[in-house]
């Protein structure tokens, strides 16, 4: 059974325990052993990278070093954590001087980073290590071709030399559940989460445009794999209603929730009631084989 270091971060457990629970349950069914990492710190978010580059390197290098100890890959369900860990890994892999500086600090707590560890988004591990064929075999209640628009998330896809992730991974994972992947013009556009602290109006506008583009392409649901994107597209629909007077009423689901339901798990098991825009209409689209 493949074993992984699970880096949960702080946003998923605090804001979207439904995403956390669905991820754990799906992984278990797929035969992936996810072990919560011990004694790891928050990634600090892109804001920490912006204001304190070295501090950001240090906290994330520490997490990488902890993961490196047992040799298992680090997996995370959060695009923000993913980007931080991948970015820091990429930088230190290519910058000996900074790696040395970081290791001088890590040494004080008995750690050392050699940059041998691999960081991955947890859904990519499902895709690569378990595979679409094996995932399909587990599906007992396939979706009826319902139209779902994927929001991939900027920090999952870009910069590609750092993230090593391609959008097809999510397309294929979603299709495996029986859903139809909706193509829409703004598929690459940012959800606006990162600009929330400094310009809320702009953040709301971006979420509005994104959701409108999905709706115009006749998406019935949206799918995300990141708590920040989830927040912007799901909860922010209430902000959009206030600012624009528009009600999209487009339910947003995390991929492991969709997969878990297609594997026959119940709506309570995946915390469907916690999705902000009521997501239970998805239940009408699962067929029984």
């Amino acid at each position: 059974m493949p074993t992984y270091n699970l880096y949960m971060g702080c946003s998923v457990p605090a804001n979207y325990p439904n995403y956390e629970a669905a991820t754990l349950k799906v992984a278990e069914k797929l035969g992936m052993e996810l072990q919560y990492m011990e004694g790891v710190a928050c990634c600090g978010s892109p804001n920490l990278r912006a204001i304190d580059y070295f501090g950001w390197l240090l906290v994330n290098a520490r997490t990488l070093a902890i993961g490196e100890k047992n040799g298992h890959d680090i997996v995370t369900p959060c695009n923000g954590c993913f980007a931080a860990l991948k970015d820091v890994w990429y930088h230190l892999k290519h910058n000996e001087e900074d790696l040395k500086k970081v290791n001088e600090e890590l040494k004080k707590s008995g750690l050392e980073l050699k940059c041998n560890v691999r960081v991955r988004h947890v859904v990519e591990a499902m895709y690569t290590d378990i595979g679409i064929v094996a995932i399909k075999e587990r599906i007992t209640k396939p979706l009826d071709g319902v139209r779902i628009a994927i929001h991939y998330g900027c920090h999952l896809l870009r910069p590609k030399d750092v993230t090593e992730f391609t959008p097809e991974v999510l397309d294929e994972l979603l299709r495996a559940t029986g859903a139809t992947v909706v193509e829409y013009p703004l598929w690459k556009q940012c959800c606006g989460a990162t600009v929330l602290p400094v310009n809320e109006d702009l953040a709301v506008r971006l979420a509005h445009d994104k959701l409108k583009s999905m709706k115009d392409a006749e998406a019935e649901f949206a799918m995300v794999v990141c708590p920040a994107c989830g927040n912007q597209l799901d909860l922010q629909q209430f902000g959009i209603k206030e600012s624009y007077g528009v009600e999209f009423n487009l339910p947003v689901l995390f991929y492991p929730q969709i997969l878990a339901l297609a594997m026959g798990m119940s709506e309570d098991e995946v915390g469907l009631g916690m999705n902000r825009v009521p997501a239970d209409p998805i239940l009408c689209h699962f067929t029984s084989e």
């Binding site: 949960m8 702080c10 946003s11 457990p13 605090a14 804001n15 325990p17 439904n18 956390e20 629970a21 754990l24 919560y36 990492m37 011990e38 004694g39 790891v40 710190a41 928050c42 600090g44 978010s45 892109p46 804001n47 920490l48 990278r49 912006a50 204001i51 304190d52 580059y53 070295f54 501090g55 240090l58 906290v59 520490r62 930088h91 910058n95 900074d98 600090e105 707590s109 900027c154 920090h155 896809l157 870009r158 910069p159 590609k160 690459k188 556009q189 940012c190 606006g192 990162t194 600009v195 602290p197 400094v198 310009n199 702009l202 971006l206 445009d209 098991e269 915390g271 916690m274």
Partner: protein, 179 residues
Amino acid sequence: MAETDDKTGPPVTLIEPIDMTKLDPNFRKEIQNMPDGDEVNACFACSTCTAACPIANQWKYKPHQLIRMILLGMREEVLSSREIWECLTCFQCQERCPQGVRVTDIIFDLRDLASEEGKIPDAVKFLAKELLEKGQLYVVTADWEREDLDLEPEVPGLSTDEFKEILKRTRTGKIAGGE
């Protein structure tokens, strides 16, 4: 085609003249020496980055102008601009740059330089304080939701002490404590 009646003003295609005395010739080198600045000189101002930017419409300085300003040495204007903080960091500019300039990463580097000089928006300064106080960005408040889903009430394995300890000694400590 409409004709212009006013022939006295400068042609509209010209931008404001640059005050040469304010230019910092070392700025370009400074950026080049930062983690992502290697390729900055390769910019040929095609403005593909600006075409890719979903919010450039509302900016005084467009992404390609910011890069150009770095190359010209307009340090003060760049580091004081609101643009570097409003960037979404969506990396669409960087993805499309035909010259391999790491535009978004460079904007992160610019924020880092601005932060060194204390030029940080209040909202971001507030986040720095939060990070230092809590040792994490988000704290679990609704533990009953977690318990309903058979999850541990606290996040397993997440430690906040080391995080605080590290950031107290790096620049975050200065930013958050320097009131």
